[in-house]
């Protein structure tokens, strides 16, 4: 005890190390082991599976390119959830904001033929971010005006988003229903848009076998901007204060309502940007089957990254690798790719409850379990 007292900076550094690196690393390790146990229990071969997973993620230059490309949406949806966490809000709506972002950016991308890229592409990207922002702002506004809890509203907004997006590419009904405004007539019965014009596509970084586009830089810029915003600006300070103690924040003269809405706008814009980049960089069109799950994964990524923007990048790298390797794993070992989702859930569990990891590895408790992410857990009654 005396030693800890005399060496206080050292111990906080140690705690920081424990929180940012050791716990997430051990959590991932434990989750992989637990996943192996599950596979063994159902007569799958975990060694073969993990070999395939590793090869699919890092086995070749092409594998690396897929891993890096898959990181992009995780980074942005992870940031979206992380920013909301900072203000004590739980944004389960990233997948809806993602879908709306895709739709809005594609809506600009398939129109305005002949516009120069320098105008067309930014316009499409801004449109996608704006769409996501509006989708995120609605739960925020409802929360501060009526007390509706953002968890339920964002989930409902997810369903509304996918229905709305489905309608925009709706091929029309048999009872005279008009087709959706973005539906590609040449696709006949298939619900999808036509391809966005080249002037609105995010260009590829390298030639054909490597499928990485410039979106990766957009994502990294977003990381730095969010880090600066959260830790270096007054708005960021207000967001963090509201997250830690809304009552104290109000007492200190921070307009909590404004901060909540602003945070949800920011979160929505980030998830919208994720959808935008996927649509303009990879798919080059919108169809209802694009997107969805990645918003939910954003929750796990944000928590695995300890809600820190740089942590989110590391977590996204891991998730990108898991995602990139999953197909190869299923192909090589016959283990259903769904096991990845199980592993991700376990990672989330172990990261969110450091006590489990500490108990497993007999780490000395830092006596500060408040370190784990806490949300504003009232249902909004008061």
């Amino acid at each position: 005890m005396a030693q800890a007292n005399s060496n206080k900076t050292n111990s906080t550094q140690k705690r920081f190390f424990l929180g940012i690196f050791l716990i997430p690393f051990l959590a991932l390790l434990t989750a992989l082991v637990a996943g192996a146990v599950v596979m063994l229990a159902f007569r799958d071969d975990p060694i073969l599976a993990y070999q395939g997973l590793f090869q699919g993620a890092f086995g070749s230059g092409r594998a690396w390119s897929v891993t890096i490309r898959k990181m992009i949406p995780f980074i942005l949806t992870g940031l979206s959830v992380a920013v909301a966490f900072k203000a004590g809000l739980f944004n389960i709506g990233a997948s809806g904001q993602f879908v709306i972002g895709s739709v809005c950016s594609v809506a600009i991308g398939i129109h305005f033929e002949g516009l120069p890229m320098i105008i067309h592409l930014p316009l499409a990207i801004l449109s996608g971010m704006l769409g996501g922002m509006i989708w995120g702002a609605i739960p925020g506004l409802l929360k501060v005006t009526t007390g509706a809890h953002e968890v339920i509203v964002t989930i409902m907004m997810n369903y509304l988003a996918s229905l709305f997006a489905g309608w925009t590419v709706y091929a029309g009904g048999t009872q005279g229903q008009t087709p959706g405004p973005l539906w590609d007539r040449t696709a006949r019965a298939i619900s999808e848009t036509s391809d966005v014009f080249e002037s609105a596509q995010i260009p590829w970084l390298f030639g054909p076998p490597y499928r990485v586009h410039y979106g990766v830089f957009l994502a990294l810029i977003a990381v730095v901007v969010v880090w600066w915003l959260i830790y270096k600006t007054t708005i960021g300070f207000e967001i963090r204060t509201v997250g830690q103690n809304p009552k104290a924040a109000r007492y200190a003269g921070i307009r909590v309502e404004k901060t909540v809405v602003l945070t949800m706008c920011l979160a929505g814009a980030l998830a919208g940007l994720a959808g935008t980049i996927e649509a303009l960089g990879l798919n080059h069109k919108f169809a209802p089957e694009f997107g969805g799950q990645v918003g939910f994964d954003g929750i796990t990524v944000a928590l695995l990254g300890q809600t820190h923007p740089f942590g989110v990048v590391i977590a996204s790298f891991l998730f990108g690798a898991l995602d990139a390797g999953a197909a190869k794993m299923q192909f090589e070992s016959g283990v259903a790719a769904d096991i990845i989702q199980v592993i991700q859930a376990l990672v989330l569990a172990f990261v969110a409850a450091p006590l489990i990891i500490k108990a497993l590895f007999r780490l000395r408790s830092s006596g500060d379990e408040k370190h784990a992410t806490k949300l504003n857990t009232s249902w909004g009654g008061s």
Binding site: L142, M156, W167, G173
Partner: protein, 346 residues
């Protein structure tokens, strides 16, 4: 006061209006108008009840957990786990007599739901995980495991069929809608009453509420706070599992990946809308069920050229309106979401 919460009043009056309208549609020329049939036809009522049952069970699950101070947003996952477990049990006992196999599957669904509840309890009580995150873990885990383990060739043969209750099912209109249903539906409706009595009129219920409102005081009175919470979370998990069992063993007869399709979340809204009371939840679930029925009827009747996506938005919009505007101020249990340590344990 608790019994006649405002939501319960609103819902009961809505139900009465619907019944009266249904009778009018059935016996007067009003029924010739297709819109009237869409809104108040017998099939709309039937569908309402069928859609409301999993929501009621889910909401009761939420009430049991949250009254003791544990937030349960994992209902969706517990439901899915129950549905999957019920399906696995049913498809591997297809050669048993139908009812034995069905009952066995219901028990398995209950058990697995209970286990998921226990896991939620362990995470949030023993390991002090944030309860909302713990619920999210349950949801992702259930989705992942059920997809990973799902054998697409497995078939569950047979499901629960309606058992008309003698005499009561003879009542015109009301009889066929309410008194001619399959067993889990009756059980669910009965459970509303049981949970109501248990929470408001038994020692267990008093303890549950004490633990959820003021755990320190309850502890001082000698109630084991965390044991009560474990117990309630497990019970809640079982009810959510039963809701999943209903989907597979009574409503659909098969399992589909992600078949709960947001019902767990809507039941959460029903619980809040019903102000954490069983009858309030029943009313809210009926309302949400009715919006789903309307959506269905609209599409079947073909009375409108509105694209189906907008019609399908109805239940979700009603849910948002319900949790934001219509309810006014609801009051959740005071100690909700906070883990509890006894003084000595700090």
């Amino acid at each position: 006061m608790t019994f006649w919460s405002r939501t319960a009043k609103i819902s009961v009056s809505l139900a009465l209006i619907m019944m009266v309208m249904a009778i009018l549609v059935e016996i007067t020329p009003l029924g010739e108008n297709p819109w009237m049939r869409v809104f108040f036809g017998v099939s709309a009522l039937n569908f309402t009840l069928r859609a409301a049952i999993p929501l009621v069970l889910g909401a009761l699950s939420g009430i049991l957990c949250e009254r003791s101070g544990i937030i349960n947003i994992g209902i969706e996952g517990m439901m899915l786990a129950g549905a999957f477990a019920g399906f696995v049990a049913k498809s591997s006992t297809n050669d048993w007599p139908l009812y034995a196999s069905l009952l066995f599957s219901v028990l398995v669904a209950l058990g697995v739901g209970g286990l998921m509840g226990l896991l939620h309890g362990l995470f949030s009580i023993r390991f002090r995980m944030d309860q909302i995150i713990s619920g999210t873990v349950i949801i992702i885990l259930a989705a992942g495991l059920s997809s990973y383990l799902y054998d697409r060739d497995a078939i569950s043969a047979g499901k629960f069929t309606p058992i008309p209750i003698p005499l009561l099912s003879e009542i015109p209109l009301i009889g066929p809608v309410i008194f001619n249903n399959a067993p889990i539906t009756y059980v669910a409706l009965l459970l509303v009453l049981v949970v109501h009595i248990a929470i408001f009129h038994t020692r267990w219920g008093l303890r549950t509420r004490a633990v959820g409102e003021h755990p320190r005081a309850a502890d001082t009175e000698g109630i084991n706070v965390n044991r009560q919470r474990y117990f309630n979370t497990m019970l809640g998990g079982m009810l959510a599992g039963l809701a999943g069992g209903f989907l597979v063993l009574e409503a659909v007869g098969q399992f589909q990946e992600g078949m709960t399709a947001g019902r767990g979340f809507i039941s959460l809204a029903a619980m809040i809308f019903g102000n954490w009371t069983p009858f309030g939840a029943l009313g809210a679930a009926t309302l949400f069920g009715y919006t789903q029925a309307l959506q269905n009827e609209f599409l079947l009747a073909g009375v409108t050229t509105i694209p189906r996506q907008f019609v399908s938005m109805l239940p979700y919009i009603v849910t948002i309106v319900a949790v934001s505007g219509l309810v006014g101020r609801v009051r959740p249990p005071a100690a909700i979401g906070k883990s509890y340590d006894t003084e000595g344990n700090k």
